[in-house]
Amino acid sequence: MIVHRTATRMIAVALVFITGLATAALAAEAESSGVPMPVIPMGMGDSCVEDTDFMRRNHMDMLKHQRDETTLRGVRTRQYSLVECINCHVVSGPGSEAVSASDPQHFCRACHDYAAINIDCFQCHASRPETGASTAGHAAGFAAPAADGVSGDQ
């Protein structure tokens, strides 16, 4: 009995290992050919305000929370502000001008097009930094130029 149980366990472990290998191989295959994956442009800073995995799953909740805090209560912290997302995740098009959300290369659209999710943020919000101002234009609106590094540092 004991021998039999050990053998079963070994087979199970081997199966899990093989399945894992197969999955990894499939994923690698998908990335190299066949299934299209979204091309996500890099942000300008060293790192995002949170880990990439966390941002992928939670950015919408953070934006929604910040939106109510700012609109209703006047909280103006910049770490999770949409304006800072736009300033950092800026994509330059031909002619080095930042692309707007009408361009499929736009940071937000790169993923949202792929996932077939319509967002309406940019019906009201600017989807690119102000021309010729980028972050400086934003700093003018929020007064404290010394706070520029905050979003990248934390």
Binding site: H125, A126, E130, F142, V150
Partner: protein, 261 residues
């Protein structure tokens, strides 16, 4: 009991020491600067301004923002406030004067009996009891704790009841698809909007664009400040001089007052 439990830094305290206080003040300022991240720097390094609000703090009802407009200094030919507003908030006309967005406008009034005429800038009057807030079916039209009346465009459905309710014709509806708005003034098709008292500037301890333009290029007719603070310039002036609210009979208690009307 309470008399014995005064705060330690109370001025009546026996061990009050001006030198110690200034030293502590300097330390606080130094700490604010060296700690660098914006919130602390902003909050501690400007202790003299009573209205300065840290970026992470919510607005409070201890302040009530208001404006006093001295029509004796407002020239009928001047529209610096109107153009400054348009520039600050990215308002662009579509050559449709009937529906183009208008947050502040110059209104000419004339007394038919005497012929006396005035030109007054009229914007959202930021009422204490705003009728636009009463009628809004979604709660999108709201009054912030500090008295600024705003539209939350996330919940505005564009029904325009507030435009009907406002006795000052202060609100506009956006009919066109917009692009490249100002980062601090999001606005989009299908929502109602009006003067925000430049809330993004006020939160950063700056003056509204119209007030700044009026003092720089106009007659210096506009004064912005905290009506709840008895020491503020605006409170002193409304206490000293006779000022008027437009349609005061409606009992809305607007935050915008006029002098020499």
């Amino acid at each position: 009991m309470n008399m014995n439990r005064k705060p330690k830094d109370s001025k009546t305290s026996a061990d009050f020491n001006p030198a110690r206080r200034s030293f502590l003040g300097a330390m606080a300022t130094a700490a604010g600067v060296t700690l660098a991240p914006g919130v602390i720097l902003y909050g501690i390094s400007k202790p003299s301004t009573s209205s300065a609000k840290p970026l992470d703090a919510a607005v409070s009802n201890e302040v009530r923002w208001g404006m006093l407009i001295d029509l004796g200094r407002c020239d009928s030919g001047c529209d610096e406030c109107v153009s400054a507003c348009a520039k600050e908030n990215g308002l662009r006309g579509f050559d449709r004067p009937e529906t183009d967005a208008q947050w502040i406008r110059k209104v000419a009034v004339k007394d038919p009996q005497t012929g006396a005429s005035k030109s007054l800038p009229v914007m959202c009057q930021h009422c204490e009891n705003p009728p636009c807030v009463d009628v809004c079916p979604t709660g999108a039209s709201f009054k912030r704790a500090d008295g600024i009346v705003l539209v939350n465009k996330h919940t505005c459905i564009g029904c325009r009841y507030c435009m009907m309710a406002c006795p000052y014709k202060a609100r506009s509806f956006i009919h066109e698809t917009l692009e490249d708005q100002k980062a601090h003034a999001p606005r989009g098709k299908g929502t109602v909007e009006s003067c925000t008292l430049c809330v993004h500037r006020v939160d950063a301890d700056r003056l509204p664009a119209c007030v700044e333009a009026c003092s720089d290029k106009g007659g210096g007719a506009m004064l912005f400040g905290d009506l709840n603070d008895p020491g503020s310039e605006i409170s002193k002036r409304v206490a000293t001089y006779a000022t008027q609210q437009i349609r005061a009979d409606l009992g809305l208690n607007p935050g915008v007052r006029y002098r020499n009307l």
